[in-house]
């Protein structure tokens, strides 16, 4: 054996050795690549379906296309609720690695206030990680541009263009039209979630709530391809949304404006109905509020300010305000007397300034201390003699009175097409027994006869009953929405306006007698509202009312000077016009306004002037107290 170090190089042997090794290495790698090919077959052929679906799930997202909410117009086609474009900054927490850091950076970039951040954190608790949450609403053009430039720094955050609800008339239609707001938990339980994908707002009140189904429309959707940041790259398929239907209301912006202005600083309510179909021409409740404040989510402090305001601006007095009807009740009591043959048109009663129940000492006072002497229906109505109606109510008795008033909808909901209506209260023997466990006293019948005591009516009920009276018992359900219009239809679809009931009053002369007595209120020489009866091409049938808020002791004198404003009487007025062929019925309630004659009646006259286009030269400024 030769020492390898001294071994001579054997080229042939070396060549064969290395060549063998080359072949072995080659074969080894052939095996390795066999494994690779096997792996590829496993991935691409055997598990193809699995990875294909994973790939599609990666890239395909289904996005809802929220429908455009229907617009709301008044009867003249003036926009009451529209949708305006706005840009909001939204974040999907799931797609953000460090949310707090991102928000901090955004706060710096767009100078968000601490309040904005706090509001966002509040919202964050109420949303799940995959839902978009608004960071800031109503971005300015500059802010949109600023974010767009820096967008790459903020995966999962985006500027989203949306349409939000806007009420161009501001406070004017807040109570009637209502407003939309963010969908809350309870609403989530009720709505068709599928249809509300992508919709952030829902009708909360008024027409917006009642007609939510029509206004909302049907959601569409699109399949989009998204990239790794979740940003849409292109659209694969889309099913467009069906816009909600537009609503045309009976409301008339001129009347609404006039009513709101006429009420001025007073709290109260005005309701104007179209007597021929029940359409609500005006519905004002004061104080008003701005519905726009609710659209993008009202701040807690702002909401608390509205809620805790002693004037209760959020309270819709027209539908829910309970007021004693006072003397505006008298036409209905009179009709009951005539129809039930308790009195005739000619029956006379002597008014000494008070009424005493047989065998009782208590004096039920007439508003006029010196009395009205002999009065019949016409003069009792014109001068609003309380004694006449005490007597009449006593003769009728509470059972018959209550039964008859029931026809006119007192104590019942009118069925108007907005939510939240109150039924008011029309007292009866049974009611008192059930609610108070007390017997009905005869004296309570008397004060019911002049619309005081337990009686509670809403402004809408008063207007509705007045309209029914004017239409000789033909009842139309009060209706805010007159017609709907969808994109696909050319014309409008009229809704409502059908006669719902007809009162079982036999003698038409009874209607005429009451209406004539109401005409006397406005046009008679001694009528309590005669100051509003001038310069008219037709006659108005009306009735003033002054409802006591504060009980005045026997023989004491009501003195507006010394009483606190909150304890002043409510001023009321109901009317329909023209008296012989009514078109509109009005109820006016001015809280703590004092006298119905002086405060409420002129408001009704103004509305009549606006509706019929009557030019008046001067304001009648000569009040006559009841």
């Amino acid at each position: 054996m030769i020492d390898p170090r001294h071994r001579l190089k054997d080229h042939f042997r070396e060549s064969r050795l290395v060549s063998n090794r080359l072949i072995i290495a080659g074969l080894f790698f052939l095996v390795l690549f066999g494994i690779i090919i096997f792996r590829l077959v496993m991935l691409q052929i055997v598990d193809f379906e699995h990875f294909d679906s994973l790939s599609n799930r990666n890239r395909v997202a289904i996005e809802p296309l929220p429908p455009q909410r229907g617009l709301i117009y008044d009867r003249n086609g003036v926009l009451l609720a529209e949708n305006i474009p706005t840009f909001s900054l939204e974040v999907i927490p799931e797609k953000v690695t460090n949310l707090d850091e991102t928000i901090a950076e955004l706060a710096e970039l767009l100078s968000l206030t601490e309040e904005d951040v706090a509001a966002f954190n509040e919202r964050r608790k109420r949303h799940r990680a995959f839902e978009e949450i608004v960071v800031r609403n109503q971005l300015t053009q500059k802010e949109v541009a600023l974010f767009s430039v820096n967008r790459h720094r903020f995966p999962g955050v985006d500027v989203v263009g949306r349409l939000i609800r806007h009420y161009p008339q501001g406070t004017l239609f807040g109570h009637a039209v209502g407003y939309v707001g963010r969908i809350n938990q309870q609403e989530m339980q009720v709505i068709d979630r599928q249809n509300y994908k992508g919709t952030l707002q829902i009708g909360k009140n008024g027409v917006e709530k009642q007609y939510e189904d029509l206004l909302h429309g049907t959601v569409g959707y699109r399949q989009v391809e998204t990239n790794v940041q979740g940003r849409t790259v292109r659209e694969l398929f889309s099913e467009p949304a069906t816009a909600g239907q537009d609503l045309y209301l009976h409301l008339d912006i001129q009347l609404q404006k006039a009513a709101s202005e006429a009420l001025g600083e007073y709290n109260g309510s005005v309701v104007v109905l179209d007597t021929r179909n029940g359409g609500v021409l005006a519905m004002v409740s004061k104080p008003e509020y701005d519905p726009n404040a609710f659209v993008t989510g009202i701040s807690t402090t702002d909401y608390a300010a509205l809620r805790d305001n002693p004037e209760q601006p959020l309270f819709n007095r027209a539908l829910r305000g309970h007021y004693p009807p006072g003397s505006t009740f008298k036409p209905f009591v009179a009709l009951a007397g005539l129809e039930l043959n308790v009195v005739t048109e000619q029956s006379r009663t002597y008014c000494p300034g008070f009424y005493r129940l047989p065998g009782h000492e208590h004096r039920y006072r007439c508003w006029r201390r010196q009395g009205h002497a002999h009065v019949d229906l016409k003069s009792a109505m014109a001068e609003s003699c309380d004694v006449y109606f005490y007597d009449l109510a006593h003769a009728l008795g509470i059972d018959r009175l209550h039964g008859f008033l029931d026809y006119f909808g007192f104590g019942k909901r009118s069925g108007i097409d907005v939510p939240g209506e109150s039924a008011g209260l029309s007292p009866s023997r049974e009611w008192k027994r059930a609610q108070r466990n007390q017997a009905w006293f005869p004296g309570e019948t008397l004060i019911s006869g002049i619309g005081q005591g337990f009686n509670q009516t809403t402004p809408l009920q008063l207007a509705h009953a007045t309209a029914t009276l004017g239409m000789l018992g033909t009842v139309y359900k009060p209706q805010l929405v007159r017609a709907t219009k969808s994109d696909s239809d050319d014309g409008m679809q009229l809704i409502g306006g059908q006669q719902t009931d007809s009162l079982p009053i036999q003698k038409s002369s009874n209607w005429q007698a009451v209406i004539e007595s109401m005409v006397e209120v406005v046009h008679g020489k001694r009528g309590t509202a005669r100051h509003i009866g001038e310069d008219l091409p037709f006659k108005i049938a009306g009735k003033t009312g002054t409802a006591q808020v504060f009980g005045i002791a026997q023989d004491a004198k009501y003195d507006a000077e010394t009483l606190a404003k909150k304890l002043h009487d409510h001023a009321l007025f109901v009317a329909f016009a023209p008296a012989d062929a009514p078109e509109i019925a009005i109820s006016v309630i001015v809280e703590n306004g004092g006298s119905g004659s002086a405060v409420a009646a002129p408001i009704a006259r103004k509305l009549i002037d606006v509706y019929f286009g009557i030019e008046t030269e001067k304001e009648s400024d000569e009040p006559i107290t009841e």
């Binding site: 080659g26 792996r39 590829l40 990239n227 790794v228």
Partner: protein, 390 residues
């Protein structure tokens, strides 16, 4: 010439001896041009095929960006130039330079660790003022060259002492590069050196004991690994455990490959890459883009081209006249395949994610220049054969 064209249009039934001769002459003429500039026709064909395919895939993965293609085209031109230049050099010159290049390379690696520039979390670059380069790229060729020359000095198979020296020659640059840290390059350099050792005829018994030694050294290696390297190994075994972190690459890459199916989604139609779900899609993970758009058929064709190129390299090695040439050529050819294997193994989730590009396809210049320089050496070995005395 015009006669030739005529013949093509109307091939004669019987080929006249004269024409037959002319055809032969024209073929010899074509190969002899390549011979004269010392290029190997088959290798050039394979390389050009890969580069053309690379351009097609990069157009898709780079978001249809022409400027990216132009930049890569310039790199390809530089790499081809490097290949042609090296092919002109006599193999003996490489032999003479071997230890010098190796020595200078090691010094530069030390320099990198001391004064190198940091990029992408690792210290790989040496800034010479006018240009920056990675000394580790030089070592990719210097290590197999030096080891081949060293081992071939004495008759093969090498003695134990020389084997030990050879392993030391490999270990020094590998450790230096591993410290940068650049695990992928260290691995490739180690394998290129070890392939030389294997080809030199290292006895099977020694080989086996060496493998056992390496296996038992794994825990030690684990101890010295950086956190990110450990994470990569861990996520290899269970990529779903960290879907948003280290496992993300592998999960998305597997989805891209799997969703390609047999035929693929078609060129420019890959959603994983075009929608940016797939990271590093123009560089290390370009194989997944090919898989998604060209399917299993495309991948098998690509792998076939790689195997053919390697087969040609192995043939050149077998034909080489000197032992060091055989060792060097064999190492260059097989290392090329190791590149492919490590990259594909990583993208398909068989191997940990180490930053190794897919040879001649991935976007990037440095590794391509080195690769083509290696092919230049292969061609030099092959085309200078006849001029040497045996």
């Amino acid at each position: 010439m015009s006669q030739l064209l005529n013949d093509r249009r109307n091939p004669p039934r019987t080929i006249s001896p004269l024409l037959q001769d002319r055809r032969k002459v024209s073929r010899v003429h074509w190969t002899s041009i390549l011979q004269r500039i010392h290029l190997d026709g088959l290798l050039v064909l394979g390389i050009v095929a890969l580069m053309v395919f690379s351009a097609v895939v990069l157009y898709s993965s780079g978001g249809e960006d022409i400027s990216l293609l132009i930049r890569q085209g310039v790199r390809m031109a530089i790499a081809i130039a490097a290949m042609i230049i090296l092919a002109q050099i006599q193999p003996d010159r490489f032999k003479d330079m071997a230890f010098w290049v190796y020595g200078i390379g090691v010094l530069m690696l030390v320099a990198v660790l001391l004064f190198g520039t940091i990029g992408k979390g690792a210290q790989r670059w040496l800034d010479l003022g006018f240009f920056r380069f990675q000394p580790s790229e030089i070592m990719k060729l210097a290590v197999p060259l030096a080891v081949a020359v060293y081992l071939a000095e004495r008759p093969l198979p090498p003695s134990f002492a020389r084997l030990f020296m050879a392993l030391l020659m490999i270990a020094i640059p590998v450790v230096l590069i591993g410290k940068q840290p650049d695990l992928g390059t260290a691995l490739l350099i180690a394998s290129s050196g070890l392939i030389v050792v294997f080809l030199s005829g290292m006895s099977w018994r020694l080989l086996m004991s060496f493998i056992v030694l390496c296996a038992s050294a794994a825990p030690v290696l684990w101890y010295f690994m950086h956190d990110y390297q450990r994470r990569r190994v861990m996520t290899l075994f269970n990529p779903e455990s960290d879907p948003l972190g280290a496992g993300y690459h592998i999960i998305q890459s597997k989805i891209a490959i799997g969703s390609g199916g047999l035929h693929g989604r078609g060129w420019l139609q890959g959603t994983q890459s075009h929608l940016e779900f797939l990271p590093e899609r123009s560089t290390d993970f370009i194989f997944a883009v090919i898989a998604e758009e060209f399917g299993l058929i495309g991948l098998v064709m690509l792998i076939t081209v790689y195997l053919l190129i390697t087969a040609r390299g192995l043939y050149i090695a077998a034909q080489a006249q000197m032992s060091y040439m055989k060792l060097l050529a064999g190492s260059i050819a097989i290392t090329f395949l190791v590149y492919v294997f490590v990259n594909v193994g990583m993208v398909t989730g068989l191997l940990p994610v180490v930053g190794v590009p897919l040879p001649l396809i991935s976007y990037g210049g440095t590794s391509m220049v080195t690769l083509l320089a290696g092919f230049g050496i292969l061609m030099s070995i092959h085309t200078h054969r006849r001029m040497m005395s045996p």
